[in-house]
């Protein structure tokens, strides 16, 4: 793979024209974080690998339809998380529950919370892991109720009630 200096948008345009080197460059730039981010949502490395392959194949096919409405990484993530959901739909649930309740806070980590979230961060951390998983899937990953239900391996109705409960708890915490 050769290194290119083009911007992501230029690479997508080249991919749309059938430039495989451009796809290789996109893969080099964006596969690493995609793997890490997907691995946080799926404990099966083999499945993550399949999803990454699916995603870049979808980028290859979908590049002609890409409109530069948002950032390329956000577009790739949107494809990736949906590919993960559809793969999970085909397989028995192998997702990883949002496990960690114990929060280790180091001095430098405090900064990010202060900048990015403030009180909201603390409020989210106070949610039970089940509720936080729902908030993460629906709000932060931007999934629909149905997709979130597949990702988390719970019924759609449960996603709705947990989302409502999470909203209520957050509102109280931030009031």
């Amino acid at each position: 793979m050769t290194v290119r200096d083009d911007g992501d948008d230029a690479l997508i345009t080249a991919v749309a024209g059938g430039d495989r080197e451009a796809l290789a460059e996109l893969y080099r730039r964006h596969a690493p974080w995609l793997v890490v981010r997907l691995s946080r949502r799926c404990a099966d490395p083999g499945l993550v690998e399949e999803v990454v392959q699916d995603t870049f194949l979808a980028v290859w096919r979908g590049a002609p339809r890409y409109r530069a409405t948002g950032e390329v990484p956000a577009w790739i993530w949107g494809i990736g998380i949906r590919r993960l959901v559809s793969r999970l739909r085909q397989r028995p649930a192998v997702f990883r529950w949002w496990r960690r309740d114990d929060v280790m806070v180091s001095a430098e980590d405090e900064v990010l919370i202060g900048v990015e979230h403030g009180d909201l961060g603390a409020a989210l951390n106070n949610l039970s892991p089940e509720l936080r998983a729902v908030v993460q899937a629906t709000v932060l990953d931007g999934l629909t109720t149905k997709e979130a239900a597949t990702l988390l391996g719970i019924p759609q109705g449960t996603v709705k009630t947990r989302a409502a409960r999470a909203r209520r708890e957050l509102r109280e915490a931030l009031a």
Binding site: R20, L23, A24, Y27, R29, H30, A31, P32, W33, L34, V35, V36, R37, S39, R40, P45, E49, V52, Q53, F56, L57, W60, E71, P73, A74, W77, W98, R100, V103, M104, S106, E108, D109, V111, L112, I113, V115, E116, H117, G121, L124, N125, P129, R132, A133, Q136, L140
Partner: protein, 279 residues
């Protein structure tokens, strides 16, 4: 989007090591979407690098041949992938073959319709019936064999019995041929009768070809059976002074006998090979 703020490398490292709580991980993920510099730091610290094998998988998928129209519709109908590929590679299951078949039978049917009520009515009907019985045999002949099948060498080397491949393809060819011939028969005057006339010979000839294929190449078997059929039809019309003698009741009973005999041969052969060679 450019930001002046950047995540602490230690934070990125603990995220990459999957050692970060959900809230901070989420906020970092949001930042990573818009920050190339932090993505690069993550790429350099990630313990699980996307391997070359993953990329090679992508390239393999890009190089894979696209499924054609026939193969895609077969897959859509729930046919298994390798069967669909084998069927799609059958020379006599191509659209060009269907067109040729439809053209031959269609023009024969049109000729029979045009000449209805004239002196030529019986000869043209005879021509149509002979052709309609012959087309599945021709299809089976062109379904499998060296020089005909583009995937022949692969098929010979594949861990699948040659006769099983022939049966699969013959079944597909036979059913498509029967549909095309039936549609052409609709154009005939009094088509209700003529459908019944060519159906038994067509089945008998095809099964006889398949049964003979145990001892000779399918194309040789098909040629022999086709030739025999033309002789029977010709001799029948000359000897009895009735052009359609080869389609009358006694002849039809003989075809039923051929069907039964050939089926027996095929079943015995299938039972004999079944279990000995993995299918």
């Amino acid at each position: 989007m450019t930001t002046t703020w950047h995540a602490d490398p230690a934070l990125i490292a603990s995220y990459a090591a999957d050692d970060l709580d959900d809230v901070r991980a989420s906020s970092l993920e949001a930042h990573l979407l818009s920050c190339d510099r932090c993505r690069q730091i993550l790429a350099s610290t990630a313990p699980r690098d996307p391997s070359d094998a993953t990329w090679r998988g992508i390239e393999r998928a890009l190089d894979a041949p696209h499924a054609g129209l026939v193969e895609r519709s077969l897959l859509h109908l729930g046919v298994r992938e390798h069967i669909a590929r084998l069927l799609a590679a059958t020379p006599s299951l191509r659209l060009s073959w269907f067109f040729a078949e439809a053209l031959a039978l269609g023009s024969a049917a049109v000729a029979a319709t045009r000449t209805a009520g004239t002196d030529m009515a019986v000869p043209t009907l005879f021509l149509f019936l002979v052709l309609a019985a012959l087309t599945p045999v021709a299809g089976v002949a062109a379904a499998f064999g060296p020089g005909i099948d583009p995937a022949y060498e692969i098929g010979v080397a594949a861990p699948m019995r040659g006769d099983r491949l022939l049966f699969i393809r013959a079944a597909a060819v036979l059913s498509t041929s029967l549909v095309i011939a039936s549609v052409a028969s609709l154009a005939l005057p009094g088509f209700d009768r003529s459908i019944a006339l060519w159906l038994l010979p067509a089945l008998g000839l095809t099964l006889a070809t398949l049964a003979l294929a145990a001892w000779m190449r399918p194309i040789v078997a098909a040629c022999a059976v086709g030739l025999a059929w033309l002789l029977i039809a010709a001799i029948g019309s000359v000897a009895t002074a009735d052009p359609l003698a080869a389609f009358h009741l006694v002849a039809q009973l003989a075809y039923a006998g051929v069907i039964a005999g050939s089926s027996l041969v095929l079943i015995r052969r299938y039972a004999a090979t079944e279990g000995r060679i993995p299918s």
